[in-house]
Homo-oligomer: 404 residues x 2
């Protein structure tokens, strides 16, 4: 056998691929749990809200004895049910405008690849959903960050600041409202400003609206509501949070631009289909109406209030009260939240319980930003959230005492 | 509202993305079925073999009331079960060497992205699994095709021919045995030749072995069996065909190169996880033993024999008898099989039945090749296959009569 002349190296692209700040503490969390510790997972948007029983019922009654490939565009029955859901949202769309994806994750990748080639740029508002960074590496796209600030409630900066980021390679604006990680809900005039920029500068708008139903004050404005954007609005969406089926991996891309949909179908053909059984289960979810959302929304609102109240009482901690979704960006009196997040899992506990948070830097594209911030997901029931907030507070105190 | 200055265009990358030749006739097939026609689907490797009941049983007994995100690397219980399966295959691997993926499709994308950056090249043997073309576009990678020929049973050409394709940008060899679409099973000396090339020229070998158990004559040689390749062998695999669970979207990447696995986990973190319920179902599948495969293998062998016997009796039709998998590349006495495949769905039927095939050109990277070929998947039970072969034969005759 031939001898290797040198050690083989993974690609620069693979090296550049960031670990998810939401997930990179996984080994430490696993280690803590092995020691028998309870870990309150505020790092990830994984609600403990029960998945609606209609989903399990549909899965149990899957009507075939072969789990066959589904169509690449999606289960026709699910496409139809989903078109109905969007029409009830007030959007003028039909089955042909939708491609089912394997989670919202794949929806962003398909949308980004439809809009950009390698080397192109997408404008994002930081802090942003951290995995945008990973998708950008995978798609060979540069994220051009426009910073939003806690003191403005993470609302959009003036138009000039956004337009100033446009270069000849800019192809799209990526926006998320209700926002992950800030919980900010953009006003209609802000969405209209983005529409104006997109029209003037010939850009796509990719709109991440997976938290559409979770608005506690004010109103949600969807990208598909705005006139004049027919060919440049790309909605990406997901059943994950809406119905607490994160592990089902069912999302979608919606656009009235036929070429965008055709491209997404071709991307979809390469990976054959999204999970067949779980698409079947998702059909039943689309029939859940406002009473379901009223109940879930009330629960999340309570969780937000408990979290924010506790945070606002903590010394040296700053946060903005989110109006939607179930996240909050929090500034801690700590220099390096990466270290702190790890330390909470490896070195700290109260009565064998600790808290897992997501360090903030990964939610920014501008180097150096977010190092003293964390993102919290208010996804646990209120009693557990209160306990987690107490542990966090004590953890901050102890960390600063031992790291002074 | 601002007026759009010009129509917005999708990206060159999206335009370049090919429609899958396996799936692009979907609208015509749907149309035919709407008319009440039976369409024998020989286009896609979708077996009609029943999914093992243990899978459905596990899915029905999913042990939680929230369908939560699974770990990015995969369900720990499934990782453990899968490591056991590979050890029974004789491979020296453990859980830490495996990343669960959303189908074999995602496994190829992760493997390719771990090995290459945009602009790099991968050597492939054509005809090859058509979706490699799609992944290449999505990953910004160039496929460098080495042609294999029916007259050689689609075995590898001499070493010089492969080495001649290596450039400074070449980063990997992608090989598939048992092969889709040719059914060829590479001999051990062929796999060793690839290993020698990889070692000498510092390349990864990405080995697609999703048909491992479906070998009818000769023996399968897996990439993980070969010595000296610890840091450059990347196995990609899938439960889809092995257990007839194509729609479950459960695959994996296996490598003893820690950096490759670390990169795949980071790619995995960006998309959060593979389907939770279906990973749970897949655990039970790994416990199916040789008696399951003996039965399935005997069935596929019968199907292959029926298909090949019929094809060899047809006038002007040429094919090689495959030794593994369940596909066959067939040369038809037809100039443009793209047109023919469409015509079979739109214009031809016998007693309201027709056949769907995959045109051959999409299985090649070299322009012009494969236009008179089709790929057939021998996935139907023998009675239906015989009927489909009859319809195909009559279809060829009628097409040539009307298109002379």
């Amino acid at each position: 056998m031939e001898k290797a002349t040198k050690k083989i190296d993974i690609s620069p692209r693979a090296k550049e691929m960031p670990a998810s700040p939401i997930r990179k503490t996984e080994p430490y969390a696993a280690e803590a749990m092995k020691k028998g510790r309870t870990v309150y997972g505020l790092n990830v948007g994984q609600p403990d809200i029960e998945t609606p029983p209609v989903f399990f019922e549909a899965v149990r009654n899957f009507p075939a004895n072969v789990v066959a490939y589904q169509r690449s565009q999606g289960d026709p029955a699910y496409l139809e049910a989903l078109a109905g859901y969007y029409r009830r949202c007030g959007y003028d769309v039909s089955e042909k405008d939708i491609v089912i994806t394997t989670g919202g994750s794949e929806a962003i990748i398909f949308a980004a690849q439809a809009a950009t080639s390698a080397g192109d740029e997408i404008i994002v508002f930081e802090p942003f959903y951290t995995n945008y960074n990973g998708y950008a590496v995978m798609c060979g796209v540069k994220l051009a960050p426009v910073t939003t600030r806690a003191e403005d409630g993470y609302h959009l900066p003036p138009k000039e600041e956004i337009v100033g980021k446009i270069t000849p390679r800019t192809r799209a604006i990526l926006v998320c409202s209700p926002n992950n990680p800030t919980g900010t809900v953009l006003r209609r005039d802000e969405m209209e400003m983005l529409a104006e920029i997109a029209l003037r500068h010939n850009l796509f708008i990719i709109s991440d609206e997976v938290y559409r139903e979770f608005v506690y004050e004010g109103e949600h404005t969807g990208i598909l509501e705005l006139p004049g954007l027919e060919d440049r609005a790309i909605l990406m969406d997901s059943a994950s949070k809406r119905y607490s089926v994160c592990g089902a991996r069912i999302g979608c891309v919606v656009s009235r631009n036929e070429e965008v949909i055709s491209a997404c179908i071709r991307f979809g053909q390469a990976r054959l289909c999204s999970p067949t059984i779980e698409q079947h289960g998702a059909i039943a979810l689309t029939h859940l109406g406002e009473s379901y959302f009223d109940k879930v929304r009330a629960e999340y609102r309570k969780r937000r209030d408990v979290t924010i109240d506790a945070l606002q009482r903590m010394e040296g901690v700053l946060c903005h009260k989110p109006k939607g979704a179930f996240y909050v960006m929090v500034r801690l009196p700590i220099d390096d939240t990466d270290e702190f997040a790890k330390w909470m899992l490896t070195d700290f506990h109260i009565d064998n319980e600790t808290v897992r948070v997501s360090p903030g830097a990964g939610f920014y594209a501008t180097p150096g930003k977010g190092k003293d911030e964390v993102r919290l997901a208010c996804v646990l029931e209120t009693g557990r959230l209160e306990r987690a907030m107490h542990i966090l507070e004590e953890g901050i105190r102890e960390y600063n005492r031992t790291h002074a």
